[in-house]
Symmetry: C2
Subunit: 174 residues, 2 copies
């Protein structure tokens, strides 16, 4: 089973954290919530879901985890104002370990400048940013490109979860 | 005196609307609040300031105004998911009329793809997006480039207002 980092800050889109997190746990994976400040409690933007940050991003590295989940909402905007958070996500993508990003999630990878040549989807407001970052934007429920799975919005969550669980299974068998 | 469009949606950064708006009115200018839906009331993200949208962006054009103010916060992200809102802001910049953008404001101009070759500043989370859009990012309180004034954050507001009022004065005398 995999140890999955969830990088999260205030104003995350509740469903884009709650639903994948529940599915990953149900499948037997371990989640570690990583954020800007250890022991801070962050809240979702739609339903006020509360999540405790277990590790500060400054204290972790890619080697500590098997996979990364980046929920959307305005959490990625808050995280990417922090250089270490952007670098952690960028290092993750480059490492080849599974990375799951939904909605505004790809913003962290744009700041890390690691999307050049990638196929990516995301929330409609960031389409031009994804293109300008040198990636190919695809308007699909799920885009799989190497170790990266991306989706656009809450209605894509069931497909996002299915693709992510499959990727974790394949990755753990390698 | 100038007729200034303020393009605004929910979760705007209160101070980045309230302070420039008060200064512009005090100087005798007229403000028209433009948004996604006529008569909707939008709210600020920090202090819950309420603003009534007087005109839908779909019903206005650059010809109706002398200048444009784009407050920051998460309002620009919500607006730029709407093609007409992005186009209105892009058309404004290209028209040569004064345009004032602070914090996340330049996001609308990135989506409109009109920043190539411009000197721009903005909130730190969007620095890479500004660069990827072909603009030169400058880490300054105020950047003036032709008809565009940009600033980074709430602490820049006094300088942002001073530069904007000066630009309105020069523009009305031309």
């Amino acid at each position: 089973m995999s140890k999955i980092a969830v990088i999260i800050a205030d104003l995350f889109e509740d469903s884009e954290y709650v639903e994948p997190a529940a599915a990953f746990k149900k499948a037997g994976h371990e989640l570690v919530h990583v954020g800007l400040e250890k022991n801070a409690v962050v809240q979702g933007k739609s339903k006020g879901t509360r999540v405790k940050v277990e590790e500060a991003v400054a204290d972790v590295s890619v080697e500590d985890f098997d996979a990364l989940l980046i929920p959307g909402g305005f959490s990625p905007d808050k995280l990417r104002a922090d250089e270490k958070a952007a670098r952690f996500c960028g290092d993750f993508l480059v490492s080849g370990k599974p990375l799951f990003a939904i909605c505004h999630g790809p913003q962290l990878l744009i700041t890390a400048d690691v999307l050049r040549g990638r196929k990516v989807t995301g929330w409609k407001s960031i389409i031009q940013d994804i293109k300008n970052a040198g990636a190919q934007f695809l308007d699909q429920k799920v885009v799989e490109d190497g170790n990266m799975i991306s989706s656009r919005q809450p209605s894509d969550i069931p497909d996002f979860i299915a693709a992510s669980l499959k990727k974790l299974k394949v990755s753990s068998e390698q």
